[in-house]
Structure formats: structure tokens, C-alpha cells
């Protein structure tokens, strides 16, 4: 009798486990974060177009781009808060922190002034790679739902 009760309990525990919702190892897709990342990528793209075009001119100086840096950092802060409020967003959070480190380094380089166009090309290429990677993950999260 005891054995039967145990077997019965085990069977129902097993059923309970499998009837639980799906296993989740990573965050669900968040359209708000994805849109914000896309918007940041667009702003960055415009920034580099202008930076390349004004190379060697007074318009290329850091002072002319302070608004971009302020805007970028505000958006990053909004994204940090947003992702922190969602479960299992550890990877996206790390990517956002990494993006902030990159823009801080870019700002420091810009303050010292770009003397070679190659420098701008190098930084632009790194940002392109970064955004491609972040958006790849967002796309994969989006596809996960389908």
C-alpha cells in the first residue's frame, strides 16, 4: 500500500513538472528595448557620416558633438533601467554596458581630436560590429517566439 502511494505521488510529481510552462533560460523578446537599440544605431550612423564629412574642419571638433554624447548616454541609461526590470536579461545588460564603455572611449578620443581619418574608420567599424552583434541577438530572441 505504501509503495502504491509513493508510486502514485511520484507519478503526479512527474506530471506536475511536465505540465509547468516552458523552460526559460534567457529573456523573452522585448520590442521596446529592440526599438531603442535600433534608434541608437541610427543616431550613431548619422554621427559617423557627419564626423567623416567634417574631417579636418572646425566642425569636426568635440564641442560640436556634445549633444550627441549626452543623447547617447541618456538612451543607454534608459535601456539599462528597462533591461534591469526584465528577467534573464543578463546578456543584453552586459552588451549595453559594453556599448557605454565604447562610447566613453570614443568621447575621450574625440576630445583629443582626430588627426587621421583612419582613426574614425576604425571606431566606426567597431561600432558597426557591436550593433550588428546586439541586433543579431535581438533578432534571435524575436525568432524564438515563432
Amino acid at each position: 500500500m505504501i509503495i502504491n502511494i509513493r508510486s502514485f505521488s511520484f507519478f503526479f510529481a512527474f506530471i506536475f513538472l511536465f505540465s509547468c510552462s516552458e523552460i526559460r533560460l534567457i529573456q523573452e523578446y522585448d520590442a521596446v528595448s529592440d526599438n531603442k537599440i535600433n534608434s541608437l544605431q541610427e543616431k550613431t550612423s548619422r554621427f559617423f557620416v557627419k564626423l567623416n564629412r567634417t574631417f579636418g574642419l572646425p566642425e569636426n571638433k568635440y564641442d560640436k558633438y556634445i549633444d550627441f554624447y549626452d543623447d547617447f548616454k541618456s538612451d543607454i541609461h534608459i535601456l539599462e533601467i528597462r533591461t534591469r526590470s526584465i528577467e534573464k536579461t543578463n546578456i543584453t545588460q552586459q552588451q549595453i554596458t559594453s556599448l557605454l564603455t565604447q562610447v566613453n572611449s570614443l568621447e575621450a578620443l574625440h576630445k583629443s581630436g582626430f588627426k587621421n581619418k583612419e582613426e574614425i574608420i576604425l571606431v566606426e567599424s567597431a561600432f558597426d560590429n557591436t550593433f550588428t552583434a546586439i541586433l543579431q541577438l535581438q533578432q534571435a530572441l524575436k525568432n524564438k517566439r515563432n
Binding site: I15, I91, Q94, S98, L99, K115, E118, L122, A133
Partner: protein, 112 residues
């Protein structure tokens, strides 16, 4: 090969191999973009070294450039990791669904 010269092809090969191990099944879908990204990073690292050696940038500037490239590489690896986790999640859930379907089919009605 001269001393201190980085073998770019060897470096790329090992980076790609490490990425393939993480992603396995998903690798086929993302490998064209991933290879391009990794090649870009390696090329950029070379360029930074050239700019520093030619005296076009200071040591401080070179360090800032390296930080940007390093962080960019980090975001790529994080995406690989994330895509790998999504693959694992899909696999586990597919297996759980298979178990569910089998149990329901065996008993003849929808138990779970």
C-alpha cells in the same frame, strides 16, 4: 614567420573554431556575418598597431582604440552565447513537448 608577428589566419581560425563549438547547429545561419565581424576586428587591431608604430597616435589613444575593439569583440561573443542559450532552450522545450505528446497519446486523452 618573424618574431612577434601575429598569424592572422591562425588567429581567425581559432576564433571561428571556438565560436563554432559554442553555436554548433546555429553556426550555419550566422557564420557569414560572424566571420566578417571577426575579420574586421582582427584587421582593426592590426591598423591600431600600425598607427601607433608610425607615430600617428599616442599610446593613450592606442589604448582607447584597443578598448573600443575589445568591447566590440565582447559584444560579438555575448551574442554567440545568447544565441547558443536560445538554441539550448528550444531543444529542451522541444524535448519536453515530445514527452508531453507521448504521454497524452499513450493514455488517450490530454493529461498534460
Amino acid at each position: 614567420m618573424p618574431k612577434n608577428k601575429i598569424d592572422i589566419n591562425e588567429l581567425l581560425k581559432s576564433m571561428l573554431s571556438a565560436s563554432k563549438n559554442v553555436l554548433k547547429k546555429e553556426w550555419k545561419n550566422i557564420s557569414p556575418i560572424a566571420e566578417l565581424q571577426l575579420k574586421n576586428i582582427i584587421h582593426n587591431l592590426e591598423q591600431i598597431a600600425v598607427l601607433k608604430l608610425e607615430g600617428k597616435i599616442t599610446e593613450h589613444q592606442a589604448k582607447l582604440h584597443l578598448t573600443i575593439q575589445k568591447e566590440s569583440f565582447k559584444t560579438i561573443l555575448l551574442s554567440f552565447e545568447g544565441i547558443g542559450i536560445i538554441t539550448a532552450e528550444k531543444t529542451i522545450n522541444a524535448a519536453l513537448n515530445a514527452v508531453k505528446n507521448t504521454i497524452n497519446k499513450t493514455i488517450g486523452w490530454r493529461l498534460i
